[in-house]
Amino acid sequence: MKLFSLSVLYKGTTKSNLLKAAYDLSSFSFFQKSSVQEFMTFTSDLIVQRSSIGSRASVKEQEYLCHVYVRNDSLGAVVIADGEYPSRVCFTLLDKVLEEFSRQVSSIDWPSGSPDTVHYTALDSYLAKYQNPREADAMSKVQAELDETKIILHNTMESLLERGEKLDDLVQKSEHLGNQSKAFYKTARKQNSCCEVM
């Protein structure tokens, strides 16, 4: 079971803003790494944009599960995990990270911040620590606060989109993806083969 990325974003009115991110790309081959990272950023951004304020959701895309929590103050976090990693622990992690982040980084900086300007360094260590869910979290079976029935489940990324919207278009327009990644995405889609990353 694995965690691949952990990001904190701000959900603005028209778009979301990446504030900080950490990645564990050790399971990807050298040539894939940069594309994988870009797609994970793209995905996290899109998910936060399409999630309502004050909601939690899990989005399944191939063998990945993206868990998101957008707080009432529009601060959100996304963790991308594999299918084995227990989602309950993911949501605990998201809560924790957002709480700490909001204490350390003033909310004034959220709408305009970027990974370079934001001072928050704990994401990498959280990502590393939580690779082993049982060590990181007592995994208490009774979680009174978190009502799991309220977590929205999306079976594909597509279900996040508006009617008529195409993922291909969003990929094309995205600032997070470099040209190589976009080209790779296009080829993979054309060949109808599972784009390993998206």
């Binding site: 079971m1 299918g83 084995e84 227990p86 082993n132 049982r134 079976k141 009774v142 799991e148």
Partner: protein, 290 residues
Amino acid sequence: MKVCTDAASRYPSNYNAWSHRIWVLQNMAQGNLKVLHDELSSMREWVSMHVSDHSGFHYRQFLLKALVRELSQSMHHHHAPWPSLGSSSPRSPSPDPQPGHPPHQANGEATAAAPCPSPATPEDQSSVAAVPQLFHQEMELCTDLIQSFPGHETLWCHRRHIFYLWHHWRRDHDHHEGQGRGSEFPQLNHTDDGLSRHPHTASPRGVGLDRVESRNGQAQEGQNAMEVDGVGVPDPRDTKRLKRGPPDPCPPALPSEHGFVASVLDGCRSPEQGCFALAYRKWLDSVIGQ
């Protein structure tokens, strides 16, 4: 072995990597108890982090089968001190001068040709104790993982395999040891070598006794040929040997398995977990319950 681990980590449910690992063990460490034990313990961590990797668990099933076979062989050898036997190859069922399987002739011919099995040797005792202990530990691991990571079918499949193996071993074992029972088991508790590491291991009440389930109100109060201290419930004074940690220290048994399913269904929030639990119960009733 490192190559196998590496490959297994890169590609989920990697049948090839694991069958190669099995091949390596069979061809380079045949019958080596220490290797089998080491593998079992070193793979514990791995399977805990790859809970839907069926091949990893299948490997544990293989290890258990191999261990049980080795331990059962050594057990039955001590009961049949034929000079000609030597140490039979663990893998050859056929080239055996004795009629039938070595284990089967243990009781019958041993009593005829050799002096009655007197106080069993220490190796014999620890072999006897080791098998239920192995199953108990494996079931515990399975329980732990099922509870920590709800909704993984692999874990339930693994549970079926282990319980099935245990069920059949116990049936076969009880069948063979019919004669020597009284003398053999009470001495189980005196072997602290194998058991000292595990404070709450196989019940001192003997092997797989379904009836000693105090939860069902059937606690054996009086003397029982299998019990050393003659009590049906743990004596609070005897804390050292009978130190109980988590609730159920008994080797796996049908009632306790039903209890487990009930507890899972009780606290369960994942629909898949509920389905798997019910399917397991159905399996218990239809396959084991016969």
